[in-house]
Amino acid sequence: MNNICGLSAYQLKELIGKNNIKAVDIASSIVRRHDEVDGRISGFVNFDKDAVIDRALCLDNLADMHDRGLALFKVPVVLKDNICVNGELTTCASGILQGFRPPYDATVAARLKSAGALLLGKSNMDEFAFGSSCETSYYGPTKNPYDLQRIPGGSSGGSAALVASDQTMLALGSDTGGSIRQPAALCGVVGLKPTYGRVSRYGLIAFGSSLDQPGPITKDVRDCAILLNVIAGHDKLDSTSADVPVPDYVQSLSGGVKGMRIGLPKEYFTQGLDSGIKVKIDAAISVYKSLGAIFKQISLPHTEYAVSVYYIIGCSEASSNLARFDGMQYGYRYQSPDGRCGLIEMCMRTRGKALGLEAKRRIILGTYSLSSGYYDAYYLKACKVRALIKSDFDKAFNECDMILTPTTPTPAFKIGEKIKDPLSMYLSDIFTIPSNLAGIPAISLPCGYSENGLPIGMQLMAGHFEEEKLLRAAYSYEQNASWNKVKPVL
């Protein structure tokens, strides 16, 4: 039983099929693994051992009734702390939501429950998903399982670190500007940002409503397809969710990349790209060539503006979305010593005290961009340049089937290295942001390790609702490269 935790979700499902392993035994293995390693990694913000065992016992009682056909029956899953689960602490790793227990399930959580998954708990993240390193979390940073001095990436850093350290088979993250793919890359696992509208955002606590998408973080590409099958699809509760048929993503894995045209955007291979990453991306390109893919130089001319567009639009939307945290309906409320403070003073003190520095910075940035006199120069201008970025992709996909780039410009940086310099932190998302602005799907998968053993990720992007293409190409590569078999030494 000891090595259960090392299995992928697919392997665990096979084993359950063969030996009918009890959910409670799986849960016990997970609890042991958690006790062994999470003290050093801090991937969880909420892990209640007794509750996990209880949920597993419930699944075992269900087993006789209808265990056949449930896609994730007994499979452990972790949810990022910004995804609502009925009655479970959900805090967005923020001081302002301490103690908050949502009275409903996010659609993705409800779908996991219906699929029979074993929900483990909540993973650490940057506060309200504002960050690329997990350092802005109220609970303190998660550590990279490959080097405990380094960040796991963010904002879904907890989910990525937990998958990488075998504390769960599957995890959900959310991606507004790279928050699934960047931590997946830096922790050596697979992360997929679906097409905007592919997965319901209902119950995902909003950051940038026109950019956010929940998605899978997994040990390999097959698991990514398995999890996407469960969470994808139309939802009446999210008016931006797309009523587009959901294919069987596991079926789409086979088929290879022969004849597939892959674009290499010159703007992603310039200064600032770490030379070690360049070497690994070149090696991945060679693998694809040997599998019959055809490469093409392309251009996405507005790439250099993507970070600016993203921070203006993302912060503007965030400043509006976070207005709801005002000390009235949930979470922390400031109490004045004399008990005589009025409503507005209470609201301002509540937000001033319980929101972290980065959250306040982004709300101020967003409010400024939207304020009278600056709206045209910033918010509106950003929306127009966003249209240009989107049309860059539309044009590119006339010439190629998908686009290959590095996921990040550097491997994981040290804890503390960028936290004092917001602009340098913002620029670390430079390769992942454009796909959120265009609403297209993108996947990150491991493509090697740096000289000092840090994971390196490659990103594939395709047109709207072409997740099948991404998964097929990613799976072909993984079958040949097998980086998914590498594990951190803990």
């Binding site: 503006y305 001033g352 910075r361 101020i364 201008k381």
Partner: protein, 98 residues
């Protein structure tokens, strides 16, 4: 353009966030950096470009106007910092200095 500490104070008031003097100093310096980087955006000629505010092109999504299930007031209030007789309770709304 230079963002002054007074601008930060003003915007923080709009955003209903109380900032310390230190935070006002820090943010005006940092946002100057960030916005001068963002000024690059002005290089783009966007005459005649339709702003992209949202990705899906679909029109409004409507549902039938029929009553459905909703949360009980007890559950809706369960997270409230303060409540009274089935309502969220908030401090005095009318302030003399507002």
């Amino acid at each position: 353009m230079k963002i002054k500490r007074g601008d930060i104070k003003y915007v923080a008031r709009l955003a209903r966030i109380h900032l310390t003097g230190e935070e006002e100093e820090l943010f005006s310096a940092q946002l100057n950096d960030v916005f001068s980087y963002m000024d690059k955006l002005q290089e783009n000629d966007t005459v005649g470009v339709e702003p992209c505010v949202h990705i899906p092109s679909s029109s409004n999504v409507l549902r039938d106007d029929v009553p459905g299930q909703s949360l009980s007031s007890e559950r809706a209030l369960a997270n409230a910092p303060e409540q009274s007789v089935g309502f969220f309770k908030v401090p005095k709304i009318i302030e003399s200095n507002e």
